[in-house]
Symmetry: C2
Subunit: 193 residues, 2 copies
DNA sequence: CCAAGTGGTATCGTCGCGATACTATTTTAT
DNA sequence: ATAAAATAGTATCGCGACGATACCACTTGG
């Protein structure tokens, strides 16, 4: 049959389509893709990871640039900022109600929601497994942070029904454990054939 | 076991990583992601599809903007332009030797090449199949152009060992048939469960 | 306690981007 | 045949995303 385009080509295409959709999804509120992505990240980040620097690392942009984007988002009422209790240099960002409602409407972009909903379960499954493997391989190749969910981390500890982070030795609230942690480390390598 | 992040979240993450890698891959030559993507597209586009407008549609950007990017790329010696023989409004873009050598070095970005090479065949297979299904679903949901390979198109005709496009009724050189066509239409819907 | 390191902001210049307006050419109607 | 509509592309403007650099406040570690 017709040979398949390579994975890279497909990913590039998907990436362009996503960016285009995000652009049009944010256009109504005069927001660029980067804004929606920052908001989406912050909505999914745990308490260690909802800082300007973490957003910059997640998006692969400079901290100076991201700082300005976040200030703009805060000024427009999508974010609110709280100071860190222990380290007075760091600030934590949380979505306001306005931010959350924007996010609910705009991301995933409408057509993507449709498309993913229409996709048969086995396709979604293939996609997720393939992407997870790719992300692990990329992580290995470039050695950045993995930004995985807290509870999938090597340092995640369950002790007598209570959760904790083995790295910072701090206890974790239940809702923190399903969020993105910038200190995330994958438990082990996938066994390759 | 640990529940998997949703496909959308994974795609968003992959998309960010790709953009970051492209940014750094192009930085040495003072090129932005958009330039590398335009060059990459043009390198894979067939004779119907190597025009400024097609690039704009592929990238989801306005033709005015893309026109300026392409002028910059041409001025920097990565592209050369030829006028269309029949329609004097359209111009065709081809990579120069300089353009091709840049592309070979920068895309896919080094770490992605490594990662994809390191990925077991079954993961790549899952990824490609999952992404293809997603692209078809997106195509259906948003109704844009599919930008598939010429020979996978509904209008592709093989007649006595010769290739032709059933839409324009023109004969196709063999090397055209493996390239991207902006008029591409998928042959049929995937049979969903 | 001082030096080095770190999270964050301010500011500057470049240029990607959409919007708009325009030209030149082709296609379609009448 | 010719006017009107559509199409490919460019020019230009304003905005603001982005990296680079410099800087400040705070923390950490000798």
């Amino acid at each position: 049959m017709s040979p398949r385009p390579s994975a890279y080509v497909l990913l590039e295409r998907v990436s362009n389509l996503l960016r285009a959709e995000l652009r049009s999804a944010g256009a109504a509120d005069e927001l660029e893709p980067v804004h929606l992505q920052a908001l989406d990240y912050l909505d999914r980040a745990n308490a260690y990871s909802n800082t300007p620097l973490a957003v910059a690392e997640y998006l692969g942009l400079t901290k100076g640039n991201v700082s300005q984007r976040l200030i703009a988002l805060e000024r427009a009422g999508y974010l609110k900022r709280t100071a860190d209790a222990r380290d007075r240099r760091v600030s934590h960002l949380a979505l306001t109600a306005k931010g959350r409602s924007l996010l609910r409407a705009a991301v995933p972009p409408p057509h993507w929601r449709e498309a993913l909903a229409a996709l048969p379960a086995e396709s979604v499954d293939r996609l997720e497994r393939g992407l997870l493997d790719l992300l692990r391989a990329l992580q290995l190749a470039q050695g950045g942070r993995s930004f995985g969910e807290c509870r999938t981390c090597r340092h995640f500890v369950v002790d007598g029904g209570r959760y904790a982070c083995g790295l910072t030795r701090e206890p974790l609230a239940a809702e923190q454990t399903t969020k993105i942690c910038r200190e995330h480390a994958a438990p082990e390598l996938p066994k390759t054939a």
